[in-house]
Structure formats: structure tokens, C-alpha cells
């Protein structure tokens, strides 16, 4: 039992009304708990007049629900509580306004004989503290959610997973608790804002099912965020289909989505009207099926990423300014994560390209080494063989001449024939050695002409850039392989394309096109250059013919020789001042 000899406030009535004005004080008799006296603050807290309260018993007051806004006080504190000096906090509803929180403390006061003389009840308005506390709790909760969210985003660079985490974080019961969330991402290729993925029930029935299932699983936010399954993409959901196909061109002033992205501000839309007074376009309202929602921009310092749209379509909860602020924090995390994953994807692509070219380089290196080894042995053998061949020609040649001068019956004739046949034998050995040492040099292998073309264009990239030449390709994806020496065909396209570049001089177009024609392939190399004068046209393939100030005049001769060696043909069409087109036909098998 807590006992107090004196309560200073009560002992000095004057300050009771002044400096402790925030505390209501009431004195009760310990038997019937009748109100003996009370200060004006107590009356204010009770929202009652002195007449309604003074002299009335505790029980009586507790029953006056209708007349007293605060009858709860009398019901919460029982007689036992009052006598034992209880401390309690209660909340009093105040209609439209926020509830008032009261901290009630009773102080039984004993007389000299130890008997309780009266009970003093002190009521303190702690609403503000309560509000701070709940605000603090909310902020801590929000911070935890934001932490979980950003941790989940940092775990992955997979764009689909990032989108999943964003949407789940916004809609999860342990997250921001929105009913639905939609993501629209900006596509630099189309220059449009495009509907990508969404999450949420597509009707009330589904809402019941989803939330029923989730509440049974008792998942934490972290469980939920980690539940991403790449085999079940969000984009397959019914609700994603609802926004797929939505495309908003950049600069569309009527679109609140586009405005949110370009102005980098959020909009809170209530009943079709945004918080800046603008009316939302009907097409978007139809897509969402709901006129109350919030639009949050997704962006990083360098670029706009898209927008996030959230609503409470099922439970119709209003969206508070606090929630929008929190959404903006979420959106910031999500934006960096989306940008990161996009950069990562880019990088992956580049790394892959590098790996491919590195592998090609290694293969080439390998081949070069092999060729080098072979050619060292081959060169020595060839050198010796060639040195032998010249004297052999003389020996054999003169022996043949001698033979013609010796009569058939002369036994010397047989001797000379031995020289001739032995020279022939040596010649065959020489030819075999030379054949072996050159056998590997001309290749005939299944060759992808597209690969050859792209390799050649790579080799000429500098020239193409320097002359500001535009290269178009129209390549037949079903083009069959041909049997060829790829190195020789690089020479073919190199010669044709370098001619085209020189014919264009500056700023024109070269078109390389391929197609399958029956059992052969047709390759066309066309330029918008100066063209070839008619009188020169039938001489361009002959050796040493050239129109260039420097050049051997052998480029097209080489081209023709290679193509004919592969069983193909080449022809040309040209118009002076307009351009030239070469047609190459090659057998495909």
C-alpha cells in the first residue's frame, strides 16, 4: 500500500489552479467515493460541469455514459484500485479529433490513526507523449522495413528480382501494406514509359485467397522478399497483363505518369483528381480500375527510370502523406538497384563479347603457332627441294636432248634413259616434298560468309568512321555455309569495301546484302559513291587497270580470281555519280 502524508498541490489550493494547470485533481471520500472537490482542469478533462460531478458517487458517475464524455474514467478505476494507489493510462475518444490519453494516479491519504481519510485522484493529459511514442514506434518500424528492403535489393543484380523485391516491399503485410503496386519503366529504345510488372490481386476473390494464405504462413518481410522464384516471373501474372502494352511517349502532358517521371515529383490522386488539382486521364483510370492511388517517380541522379503506382483498391484505406514520404524512400532504393542491375546487364553483355573475342584471339594465336612450326620445317624442306629442282631440269632436259641424237641401236641410249628416269624419280620426290609443305596453306572449310563480312567490317572500322560512311547490312538469316578459304574471302570483301569507301569519299552508304538463291548464295555490295564511267566498266576486272592515283590495279583481279577459284562469279552494275553494285554468286555446297 502506498501512502502519502501530504499532496503539496492539495495542501496549497492556489497553485492548484495555476502552475499545475495541466493536471486535473479530484478528492474523493474513501467509503462511497463521492467527489468532494476537484479543480477546473479536472472538469475540463472530464468535459463536465462542477454541478454534474460534485457530490456524486463513483458508481453514479460511471453510469452517466450519455451525459459525460469521460465516464470511462469511473469504470476503469475500481474501488480497490483507488484505495491501493493504482497508476493507469486510458484513452478517451474525442470524436473527429485525435484521442486524448490520460494517465490516472490515485493517492489514498491516511489520517493520524492510519485510517484512509480521503483519496486524491490526479489525471494528467499525456496525449502528446503518447503521440511521440507511437510516432517513434512507426518510424522505427518504417526504418526496419526500409532496411530489410534495401538489404534485399543489395542481394541481387537480377533486374527481375529487383522488380519483384520492389513490388513485394510495397505491398507486403510487413512492408508498406499497399493493396496493389504497378511498375512502369522508361525505355530509351522506344523513348516511352512502358508498363512492365505489377503485383496484387486481380479481384476481391483473389485478394481473399492471397491474404488468407499469407496470414497462415506468418512470413516475415525478409522471408517474403527472399521468395523470388525466377521460374515464376511476376510478368506472367494477371495483373501484370493489365498494364503490359501501356506505352506513354515522352512529353505527353496529359499523362500523370509521364509528369511524375519528368518532373520527378509524387502525385497523390484521390477520386480521379491529383493533389495539384489536375484530372487524371481516363485511359489510365480504366487501366487501373481505381481512381485513388499514388504515383512515385523512380530516378537516380543521372537518369529517369520510371514510375511506381500504388493503391488500396481492396480495402480503400486512404494514402497518407507519411506513406508517400516512405514510398519515396523506397523508390530511391529501388531506383539505384534498378539502375545497378541495368548497368550490370550491360556489363555482362560487354564481358561476354570480350570473352568471345578473347577466345577467338587465343584460337588465332594457337593456329599461328601451329602454322609457324609447320612452316619452319616446311620452309626448310621447300628450300632444299627448290634448290634441287633447277639442276634437275638441266640434267633431265639435256639427257632428253642427248637421247634424241643417239641412234636407237646404240647401247649408250639405254644409259641416257637411266639418267632421264632417275631425274624423273628425283623430280617426283621433290614434288611430293613441296606438295606436303604447301598442303595446309589453302583451306577449304565450311565457312559462314556473314562471319567473314563482319570480320572484314571490323578490320575497316577506322576507315568507315573516318569517312563517316554508313554501313547497312541485310543478311539472310538462313544463308547456308559455303566451302571456302575464309582468309581469301576476307581479302575479297576487304577489296570491294575499301573500293566502295574510296568511291564514296565522304558521307554515303554501303549496303552489304546476302540471300540464298536456289543452290547458290548471292552477295551484293552496293555503294552510293561516284560510280564507274561506262567506258571503264568492262576493264575493271583486268589486271593493272586502275582509276586511282595510287594502286596497282590488282584489287578486282584478286577478287575475281578468288571467286572463280571457288566456282563462283562476279558482275557489276554502275551508274556514274550514283554508285556501284557488285553481285557475287557462289555455290552453296
Amino acid at each position: 500500500m502506498t501512502e502519502r502524508k501530504l499532496l503539496p498541490d492539495v495542501a496549497k489550493p492556489a497553485p492548484l489552479e495555476s502552475h499545475v494547470a495541466s493536471e486535473g485533481v479530484m478528492v474523493l471520500d474513501p467509503e462511497g467515493f463521492r467527489v468532494l472537490s476537484l479543480n477546473s482542469q479536472m472538469l475540463k478533462l472530464l468535459q463536465a460541469s462542477e454541478k454534474q460531478v460534485l457530490g456524486r458517487s463513483w458508481q453514479e458517475l460511471g453510469q452517466q455514459r450519455l451525459t459525460l464524455g469521460c465516464s470511462d474514467i469511473f469504470n476503469v478505476l475500481t474501488a480497490d484500485c483507488l484505495l491501493e494507489g493504482e497508476l493507469k493510462t486510458i484513452s478517451l475518444p474525442r470524436g473527429e479529433a485525435e484521442s486524448t490519453f490520460l494517465e490516472l494516479a490515485s493517492y489514498p491519504i491516511s489520517g493520524p490513526e492510519g485510517k484512509i481519510r480521503e483519496v486524491v485522484l490526479v489525471a494528467r493529459d499525456v496525449s502528446q507523449r503518447k503521440r511521440f511514442e507511437s510516432d517513434l514506434a512507426r518510424r522505427m518500424y518504417e526504418r526496419d522495413v526500409a532496411n530489410e528492403f534495401s538489404k534485399a535489393l543489395q542481394r541481387t543484380v537480377d533486374l527481375n528480382e529487383v522488380l519483384y523485391v520492389t513490388l513485394v516491399g510495397v505491398t507486403g503485410q510487413q512492408g508498406l501494406q499497399f493493396n496493389r503496386a504497378f511498375l512502369f519503366l522508361f525505355s530509351p529504345e522506344t523513348n516511352m514509359l512502358e508498363g512492365k510488372v505489377a503485383i496484387g490481386p486481380s479481384d476481391f476473390h483473389e485478394a481473399g485467397l492471397i491474404w488468407g494464405e499469407l496470414s497462415q504462413k506468418a512470413w516475415t518481410l525478409s522471408d517474403l522478399l527472399s521468395a523470388y522464384d525466377s521460374n515464376r516471373p511476376l510478368s506472367d501474372s494477371k495483373i501484370s497483363a493489365q498494364i503490359r502494352g501501356v506505352q506513354v511517349p515522352v512529353g505527353e502532358p496529359a499523362s500523370i505518369l509521364m509528369r511524375a517521371m519528368t518532373e520527378r515529383r509524387s502525385f497523390n490522386v484521390v477520386e480521379d483528381v491529383a493533389d495539384d488539382g489536375s484530372i487524371v486521364d481516363p485511359a489510365l483510370l480504366e487501366t487501373l480500375g481505381c481512381g485513388t492511388f499514388a504515383v512515385i517517380p523512380l530516378y537516380t541522379r543521372q537518369k529517369s527510370i520510371g514510375v511506381l503506382v500504388v493503391d488500396n483498391w481492396i480495402n480503400r484505406n486512404p494514402i497518407s502523406a507519411n506513406r508517400i514520404k516512405l514510398l519515396e524512400i523506397f523508390a530511391g532504393h529501388a531506383s539505384s538497384a534498378i539502375e545497378n542491375s541495368q548497368l550490370y546487364q550491360d556489363l555482362q553483355g560487354k564481358v561476354k563479347a570480350l570473352q568471345v573475342s578473347r577466345a577467338a584471339l587465343e584460337e588465332n594465336h594457337e593456329r599461328l603457332l601451329r602454322a609457324e612450326r609447320l612452316s619452319t620445317v616446311g620452309r626448310m624442306a621447300a628450300m632444299v627441294a627448290h634448290e634441287i629442282r633447277n639442276p634437275l631440269v638441266s640434267i633431265g632436259g639435256f639427257a632428253r636432248l642427248l637421247k634424241q641424237q643417239i641412234p636407237e641401236a646404240d647401247p649408250m641410249r639405254e644409259d641416257v634413259e637411266i639418267i632421264i628416269s632417275e631425274a624423273e624419280r628425283l623430280e617426283k620426290i621433290v614434288a611430293n616434298i613441296l606438295q606436303y609443305s604447301y598442303a595446309q596453306q589453302v583451306l577449304s572449310q565450311p565457312t559462314d560468309i556473314h562471319h567473314v563480312i563482319s570480320k572484314t567490317l571490323d578490320m575497316l572500322r577506322l576507315e568507315i568512321q573516318e569517312r563517316k560512311v554508313n554501313v547497312d547490312t541485310a543478311l539472310d538469316p538462313d544463308l547456308p555455309l559455303i566451302k571456302a578459304d575464309p582468309a581469301q574471302f576476307i581479302q575479297v570483301f576487304y577489296n570491294l569495301i575499301i573500293n566502295a569507301i574510296q568511291a564514296i569519299d565522304h558521307g554515303g552508304t554501303i549496303t552489304v546484302a546476302t540471300e540464298r538463291v536456289g543452290n547458290s548464295i548471292l552477295i551484293r555490295v552496293k555503294d552510293t559513291g561516284c560510280g564507274i564511267p561506262e567506258e571503264s566498266l568492262d576493264r575493271i576486272f583486268t589486271p593493272f587497270f586502275t582509276t586511282k592515283p595510287s594502286g596497282a590495279g590488282l584489287g578486282l583481279t584478286v577478287v575475281t580470281e578468288i571467286i572463280e577459284a571457288h566456282g563462283g562469279s562476279i558482275s557489276v552494275l554502275s551508274e556514274e555519280g550514283k554508285g556501284t553494285e557488285f553481285f557475287i554468286r557462289l555455290p552453296s555446297s
Binding site: 621447300a382 627448290h386 629442282r389 633447277n390 639442276p391 634437275l392 631440269v393 638441266s394 640434267i395 633431265g396 632436259g397 639435256f398 639427257a399 632428253r400 636432248l401 632421264i420 631425274a423 624423273e424 623430280e427 614434288a431 613441296l434 606438295q435 604447301y438 596453306q441 589453302v442 589486271p543 593493272f544 596497282a552 590488282l554 583481279t557 584478286v558 580470281e561
Partner: protein, 127 residues
């Protein structure tokens, strides 16, 4: 042979081969000019008006490939046969400007046949 004899210019740095070819082609009824260097061959094309040239490739100084280019620059319709111990120049696109490429052999019949074939094609010999 009809009218004036056909002149063949043979360029080879090997003395024995020059002697062999000279005998061989004289016997076949041609008039033979000889050159032991590429530059000499170019000079003789300019001054002595041969009907056909047989060029060795490996020669000191100006080689047969370079001589081929110069000869064609002087007289671009003159038939030229490259005659060499080397097969490798067949892949050298420069040699594609020649009318024929014959590997040296003790059996001169293939070379003789090639000369004849070209001369017939050019209308200098009856078919």
C-alpha cells in the same frame, strides 16, 4: 611456220637452263631471245618486240613478278608464262596477271604445249 618466225623471250638466271630452253625452242622452230635478269627481260620486250615471254621468278635483282608488272605496263597484251621451280607463287595474286604458270620440269613437253596453246589463242599459230 607461216611468215616471219615467232620470237620467244626466255628470262632465267640459270645458265644451263637458258642453254637447254634455247636448244629446245630453236628445235621447235621458234626464234629465241635470252635474258639473264629481270631488267634485261624488260629491256628486250621494249626493244626487240618478242611475241611471248617465258619468265623465271627467282632472279637476282628484279625478280620475275616485278618484271611481269613492268612488261605488262609496256605491252599489256603480250602473253607471259611464269616458269619456276616454285609452286608457292601460284597463290601470289601478282602472278595471276600472267597467262600461265608452269612448274619447271626436266620434261619440257608441258611448257612447249602451253606456249603453243597461247600462241594459237592469240592467232599467231594456226590451230
Amino acid at each position: 611456220m607461216i611468215g616471219k618466225p615467232i620470237r620467244i623471250l626466255i628470262a632465267d638466271d640459270d645458265k644451263n637452263i637458258r642453254r637447254l630452253y634455247e636448244k629446245e625452242f630453236r628445235q621447235a622452230g621458234y626464234e629465241v631471245l635470252l635474258a639473264e635478269k629481270g631488267s634485261e627481260a624488260v629491256e628486250k620486250v621494249r626493244n626487240e618486240n618478242p611475241d611471248l615471254v617465258i619468265l623465271d621468278i627467282r632472279m637476282p635483282g628484279m625478280d620475275g613478278i616485278e618484271a611481269l608488272g613492268r612488261i605488262l605496263a609496256i605491252k599489256n597484251n603480250i602473253p607471259v608464262i611464269l616458269n619456276t621451280a616454285y609452286t608457292s607463287y601460284q597463290n601470289n595474286f601478282m602472278s595471276w596477271a600472267a597467262d600461265a604458270y608452269v612448274i619447271k620440269s626436266p620434261d619440257l613437253e608441258p611448257l612447249r604445249a602451253k606456249v603453243r596453246e597461247i600462241l594459237v589463242k592469240k592467232g599467231l599459230l594456226p590451230a
